[in-house]
Amino acid sequence: MASTTENVQPSAGFRPTTGFYVGVTALFGAVFGMLVGNAQDAPLIGLIAGAAIMAALAFGLVASGQERISRWGMIVLGAIVGYFVADVAGAIMGALSGWFFGWLIFWLAKGRYRAHLVPYLTPGQVLWHYTFRVICGAIFVFLITPILVVMPLSFNAENFFTFTPEMLQLKPEGYSLKHYNDFFTNSDWQAALKNSLLIAPAATMLAVGFGTLAAIGLSQPTVPFRRAIMAILISPMIVPLIISAAGMYFFYSRIGLQGTYLGVVLAHAALGIPFVIITVTATLVGFDRSLTRAAANLGANPVTTFFTVQMPLILPGVISGGLFAFITSFDEVVVVLFVGSAGQKTLPWQMFIGLREQISPTILAVATLLVAISILLLATVELLRRRSERLRGMSPG
């Protein structure tokens, strides 16, 4: 937003009062000062100092009229102050804060906050507009922070889940790749990775095969009890996992599948099938049945029709269902703990015991890798979804 606001002309003649922008900046300064002060055990002093300093800066900088110079000055000032408080990391945080306050002061003072809004909004509505955005941002931060914290910790040079002083000062000796090294050289982790890479694709193949057939069958209007069958097939998604797992344990034990690869693959396929059914059914809604009739009219048998006409068109749905099935199997720990035995230890299982018996940052390294893989897979799903919409003519882009 900051980069575009420079070129935006505020609505003609609109200028907030000095008291408004000085006051609001002081308010932000007070909150910021309290947070910094709290870390130094003096929240009240921080609060007052923050408010006073920011109010003075807002007044002075706007009065000077030199926006570009003022904002660079704020960044440099923030970096210098931060450096004295907390070294390199402090300088970076300080520069970011300086940039933010520089932007905030001129955003308020020049009335840019109204630039993109319709002119008839009351001040209360403008306030709510931005409050709403801040709330959305806070929810986003709440959701993403646990994942973001894990990533730097996985480069920890120590064997604990702790941000060491060296790490906080961004010194190179506080960081290392040893936990990644451990993951790639430790035979336990490698065996677990191998098991996961064996089980997940096999379960995915089964889930995709059965799920697609079920979805196509259930989309025929002539099938009796469609809703009941559908409900049963997607029940693994609804029934609590621990119940399915315990049931599978006793059932698979009786028929000799407990503690075998086949057992784990079948259990994971059962968990993956609902995802495939749901995505493929959704794709079939947009599928034009006259195409299959046209194919039949031209002499193609149902199998040929399926592979040459229907399959290519519903492929994005099949693939995204398959990816969900893959992630389900790849991330699953409850069912495998019951259905598998130690020989089928998968990655999540290894992480689970690692977390319980020996809190080692190798888990964080693995978690970071898994997050990266999941992001790649979900990005693929999204791209396929867009392609599917384009093919069906639902969106122009």
Partner: protein, 371 residues
């Protein structure tokens, strides 16, 4: 007559061959259940690696499920599908499994090797044979450690377990295990009950309430842990100023991970850890397991284990063989819970008491925690 002799001879030969075949009929795969972490690693190095080197073709799979061994063995028994061959459990769990018939009873002198000094297995393990099913490996202790740098300025270094209950001298969070065992005893000890009367007091309603009342004084300053890996992490983070854990975990954090913790050996509670063999193993698996256990619990192997972790070997004959740490080269003797310097004030854990009262006191403790 001649015919009879021939028949007898051939019968004997057949029996002999069958016996030989029987002796060699051993499964080549073993699933061993243990605790993971440094402890399992010490078993891997001291028992499994030498055993596999002597018996090529044998493969060992570890299952880190000792924490829930009792529940899992019950489920396996119900499903009629025993997938474990050998299970490492603490003595209290072994007693429960033995009572429920889930663990096999063992003839110690027949199954285990004699001590290096010629003593029989039963004499060598002595008092540590607390159950007919339980083959002890190590003596460990639950004890406390603290961070001197987090104590208030001028506070004396804690020298008693009662520092855990002294919020005035040592303000800050502490970490204790989320179960009544050890905590109830320490609470009574620090509430002025004499050491040899603690189990008498704890056997009464009032005594249990007294212990909970004492724990209540530090309840909001206590972080409750359930896995032994948590307290070193909490202490390293500075989340707590003192914590209880197993002495091997503290050794590993202090000596191997260079953490600046101090041990508080006062009123450490000895406990035992060892093997049980699940009841109902098939013949071939059982033969392999017996062969392995005989090897893994002999005098030398138990002494070797002490080179990887600071737990005392369960055989008396192993004690003189305990040497240096395998990687760090420091003498392990002074780090053992049984070393004279550390065991000046030991609290003797009463298995029979806890076998009788565990369910009852567990329930009270959990409902107290939830209040």
């Amino acid at each position: 007559m001649k015919l009879t002799k021939t028949l007898l001879a051939s019968a004997a030969a057949v029996t002999g061959i069958a016996g030989l075949a029987y002796a060699q009929d051993m499964s080549n795969e073993m699933t061993i259940v243990s605790w993971g972490g440094a402890y399992q690693n010490s078993q891997q190095k001291a028992y499994v690696e030498p055993y596999v080197a002597n018996n090529s073709g044998v493969s060992v799979t570890w299952d880190e499920s000792s924490n829930e061994a009792v529940a899992k063995l019950r489920a396996m028994n119900e499903a009629g599908n025993i997938t474990w061959d050998l299970v490492d459990v603490v003595a209290a769990d072994a007693i429960r499994l033995c009572d429920e018939g889930l663990a096999m009873e063992v003839d110690f002198n027949e199954m285990l090797a004699e001590g290096d000094d010629g003593s029989s297995a039963e004499d060598d393990f002595g008092d540590l044979l607390v159950s007919d099913c339980f083959i002890p490996q190590i003596v460990y202790s639950t004890t406390a450690a603290y961070r001197a740098d987090l104590l208030p300025d001028g506070a004396p270094a804690p020298d008693s377990i009662c520092a855990m209950f002294d919020l005035e001298t040592y303000p800050g969070k502490r970490a204790l295990e989320k179960r009544p065992i050890n905590n109830m005893e320490w609470a009574l000890l620090c509430d002025g009950v004499a050491k040899d009367e603690i189990y008498d007091v704890l056997g009464t309603e009032e005594g249990q309430q007294q212990a909970l009342d004492k724990l209540d004084t530090i309840k909001d300053q206590t972080v409750w842990w359930s896995a032994a890996a948590e307290p070193p992490q909490l202490l390293a983070d500075g989340e707590v100023i003192m914590a209880s854990s197993y002495n091997g975990r503290w050794f590993s954090a202090i000596e191997e991970q260079d953490q600046d913790f101090k041990m508080l050996w006062d009123a450490q509670v000895f406990d035992l850890d060892g093997w049980i063999i699940p009841a109902g193993l098939d013949e071939a698996s059982l033969n392999r397991v017996k062969d392995f256990v005989r090897f893994a619990t002999d005098t030398q192997r138990l002494a070797d284990q002490a080179a990887y972790i600071s737990y005392g070997p369960a055989r008396a004959s192993s004690a003189p063989l305990v040497g240096k740490h395998a990687d760090l080269g420091i003498e392990m003797g002074p780090h053992m819970p049984t070393a004279p310097e550390n065991s000046k004030n030991v609290f003797v854990y009463n298995y029979e008491f806890w076998a009788d009262y565990r369910d009852d006191i567990d329930a009270k403790f959990q409902s107290w925690l939830a209040q």
